[in-house]
């Protein structure tokens, strides 16, 4: 294989685009928070209507940020001559992009505007930490990663993570809503049953994608590491996550777990996803040493 020239200037452009996107996300987050607060305070119809207009502005800003963000991810890939998810920084910015894009696309099918603040807040957190903690220069792929399975395995992992993220946001909301708090903000959110249904649907899609990630990973591992499964730390945690969500599906569909219990299980599963991505990547010894740090 001949080395491909890395375009460091374009990589810099990419980083600037991501930072601009981050700024727009932050503004969008603030606008959405204001809208949420206004809706909570609203007593008259006109007040609610004006708060909803503010919310729309927030969502349009989020859409704009997502477009700039997408350009940032794309240029990173072009600069590197490969898919933009070969280290933690790239995985974070690509993952955050997919979370935001899936959320905005889902808005066309389901009215889940009420979690906008949570989702955009999460995206801000991920891009912010990616920039400060995980940033690395563009490098070529090490031989172990030069395979088409990198495209399939990791992109589906990102997609699955995005669905789990939205489901977790809904579950968190469910727990707040069914808690003792009497905050006025709560009336803005739909009832517990609706939240549970939505959270379940996102978890189901997330679980299918996660299962695919696991299978694709095993097929790739058979090519790259001479065994399809070897209990590498990342494999262990992928398995743990899979098992937790499998338990969630059993609990909700056949055991009739509802509301809070199911929401807690969702949050435990999602914590394992985040743990797998951060602590396991950075501190655990294993074969998935691709953080780039």
């Amino acid at each position: 294989m001949n080395p491909a020239l890395i375009n460091q200037e374009l990589a810099t452009t990419s980083r600037i685009l991501v930072l601009i996107a981050l700024t727009v996300y932050v503004i969008s987050f603030l606008v959405l928070t204001v809208s949420l607060a206004n809706r909570a305070k609203a007593t008259k119809k006109e007040q609610t209507a004006s708060a909803l207009r503010v919310e729309n502005i927030g969502l349009i800003l989020a859409g704009l940020a997502t477009l700039i963000h997408g350009a940032g991810v794309l240029t990173r890939g072009i600069a590197a001559n490969r898919v933009p998810w070969a280290n933690m920084y790239e995985f974070s910015i690509s993952g955050a992009f997919v979370v935001s894009a899936i959320y905005l696309i889902a808005l066309f099918f389901k009215d889940i505007r009420f979690i906008a603040t949570f989702v955009i807040g999460f995206v801000v957190l991920v891009i912010g930490s990616a920039n400060t903690l995980f940033y690395v220069q563009v490098e070529s792929l090490m031989p172990a990663l030069q395979d088409y399975w990198l495209v399939i395995h990791v992109s589906v992992a990102i997609l699955g993570t995005a669905f789990f993220t939205i489901a977790a946001a809904l579950a968190a909301l469910l727990l707040i809503k069914s808690g003792k708090s009497k905050s006025k903000v709560l009336k803005v959110f739909p009832d517990v049953e609706k939240l549970e249904k939505l959270s379940y649907q996102f978890n189901v899609i997330g679980f299918i994608l996660w299962t695919f990630t696991l299978i694709a990973g095993a097929i790739w591992a058979d090519k790259a590491w001479h065994r399809f499964w070897g209990w590498d730390t990342k494999e262990v945690w992928t398995f743990i996550i899979w098992t937790i969500y499998a338990a969630y599906l059993h609990a909700t569909t056949t055991r009739g777990w509802e509301g809070k219990k199911a929401a807690w299980l969702t949050l435990i599963g999602f914590s394992a996803v985040i743990f797998n991505f951060t602590i396991v990547n950075l501190f655990f010894k294993g074969l998935h040493v691709y953080s780039g740090l």
Binding site: M1, N2, P3, L5, I6, Q8, Q137, V138, E139, S140, L141, M142, P143, A144, Q146, D147, K197, Y200, Q201, V204, F207, I208, T211, F212, I215, A218, I219, D222, K223, A224, W225, H226, R227, F228, W229, G230, W231, D232, T233, V236, W237, F239, I240, T243, I244, A246, A247, L249, H250, A251, T252, T253, T254, R255, G256, V280, F284, K285, G286, L287
Partner: protein, 520 residues
């Protein structure tokens, strides 16, 4: 006549029905245990327990994935390591407790599955069940009034949407419809769980029939497939050596492409290539092994897992007799391939050993110590520390070729011995101290570490996994619903029941009602 025990036995239709207190005979105890084990409550508990039980395997090094890590743990915390080892925490995934959890889970699964297969087979052949007396109690219900309302429109809607429909009529008019759809949900569910058992069996059996061997091959060397040719060898419990097929493989050349183009990536390896010639039943053919690209040979897949340098060294006695000759595999120590090798010369007049450092591109640190500045051999230098004394080889101990136990040896060159370490470049011949003879650094060769594996059932693992995935999609995405429509004196009523969360149920009932309203 119904015996007392039988009358006590309650068949639970739903998993979450309460369990009756058992009486105390052994038979009913067993039955009670079986009932418990196959209950969803226990299955759920085992599933969560399995997730928790898998955690320690990611915290402590595992013998299967990281044997050196385990050895290091024993060295650093000998006492605590013993405690961990007694709890099988270095072999979590083969431990009795981890195995117990997943075996119980699978027994529970099979116990749950078997009756469901029969039930589902029956359901597939049977007609949709009769409606409950009171349709209004169903989760979705709608009443349509109007004299013109006819069930024919509902019948048309249901058949068009591929429901299995049973219609009852009085005279010419339909009076009752029973419809069901989504049998594939349960089919998918059964397929998913059965093929999950298939995955477990093919993984377990495949593991037992498999083998995994390692071999370090220096350029020019030939590997002939037989047990003795492996440096290390891990056969499965049921593996028979007869499965090793005769073939040979010569490493012709090993080459690495480095990135010299991108400053951010400078001198990072981009490609490893092992060019080999394989001979299978007298047919010789060239092949290329790369990372991610193993080659397939009879009953073996050959993977490239590592590489390094193997300097070719010749040692001669003072009278010119060759006492050692050949390439020596050096273990890489850093990214610039500073490598460490051991040369033992038991056949010399006076037994001695050498600890060698190899620097592919030699450089000097500010302390004066040598280092390597590039992984490619642009300016290769080797230094030798020489030790005399008993190498321990004759006693059969200390036969690790990568280690020189210097405890019983006396250093005569390098370190604090007073004599400088010997320094050689390719082609150099240097006198050994104490009249031991000469050592020649003939050339630099590379070696490839190869992993050779065989698992006759891996294709079955793959097939089971793929079927599992399709079962999963069917079982999660296809809704199962029952719909009943009944003619009333002043119109009709529609009731619907879903076997899972079903968002569309409300819409469907609405559509059926509307269709009937519009009927002419």
């Amino acid at each position: 006549m119904v015996s007392r025990q039988q009358s006590k036995y309650v068949v639970r239709k739903e998993y979450n029905e309460p369990i009756e207190a058992p009486d105390l005979s052994a038979k009913s105890w067993l039955r009670w245990i079986w009932k418990q084990l196959t209950s969803m409550k226990i299955a759920l508990f085992l599933l969560l327990l399995l997730a928790i039980a898998a955690v320690p395997g990611s915290i402590y090094p595992q013998r299967s994935a990281d044997p050196n890590g385990v050895a290091l743990y024993f060295k650093n915390n000998p006492d605590f390591a013993k405690v961990l080892d007694s709890l099988q925490l270095f072999d979590v995934y083969a431990s009795s407790w981890f195995s117990a959890i997943y075996l119980l889970l699978f027994i529970s699964l099979i116990g749950c599955l078997l009756p469901r297969i029969g039930v589902h087979y029956k359901a597939l052949r049977e007609k949709p069940p009769a409606p409950p007396t009171n349709l209004a109690r169903l989760p979705q219900y709608k009443k349509v009034t109007g004299e013109k309302v006819k069930l024919e429109a509902a019948f048309e809607y249901l058949t068009k949407n591929k429901y299995k429909v049973i219609a009852e009529s009085k005279g010419k008019a339909l009076v009752e419809l029973r419809a069901e759809k989504g049998y594939l949900r349960e089919t998918g569910n059964l397929i998913f769980h059965i093929s999950l058992v298939g995955v477990l069996i093919s993984v377990a059996l495949g593991g037992a029939l498999s083998f995994n061997g390692q071999r370090v091959l220096v350029e020019g060397e030939t590997f002939v497939n037989n047990r003795a040719a492996y440096d290390s060898y891990q056969p499965g419990l049921l593996f028979s050596e007869a499965s090793l097929q005769p073939f040979s493989m010569r490493l012709d050349q090993f080459s690495i492409t480095y990135d010299y183009l991108n400053p951010a990536n400078y001198a990072k390896p981009l490609d490893f290539r092992a060019n080999v010639s394989t001979t299978v039943s007298d047919q010789q053919s060239p092949a290329l092994i790369r990372v991610n690209e193993p080659i397939a040979l009879p009953n073996a897949k050959v993977y490239l897992t590592g590489n390094g340098f193997a300097p070719e060294i010749i040692v001669r006695d003072p009278d010119g007799t060759i006492s050692f000759s050949g390439p020596v595999v050096f273990l890489p120590q850093d990214a610039n391939m500073t490598s460490l090798g051991v040369i033992k010369v038991p056949d010399a007049k006076k037994q001695f050993g050498m600890m060698a450092f190899f620097y592919p591109t030699v450089g000097k640190l500010s302390t004066g110590a040598l280092t390597s500045t590039h992984p490619n051999p642009f300016d290769p230098v080797m230094t030798l520390n020489v030790y005399v004394g008993d190498l321990g080889i004759d006693k059969g101990i200390n036969n690790n070729v990568y280690e020189l136990d210097t405890h019983l040896l006396k250093q005569i060159a390098g370190g604090k011995s007073g004599t400088k370490a010997l320094k050689l470049q390719p082609g150099d011949v240097v006198e050994l101290p104490q009249n031991l003879g000469t050592v020649e650094f003939k050339s630099v060769k590379r070696f490839a570490s190869l992993d050779i594996t065989y698992n006759p059932l891996d294709i079955w693992v793959l097939i089971s996994v793929i079927i599992t995935f399709f079962g999963l999609i069917l079982m999660l995405l296809i809704p199962r619903r029952r719909i009943w429509v009944r003619k009333l004196a002043d119109g009709a009523e529609v009731g619907a029941l879903a076997k899972s969360r079903d968002e569309s149920l409300e819409r469907i009932v609405k559509e059926i009602s509307q269709a009937m309203k519009k009927s002419k």
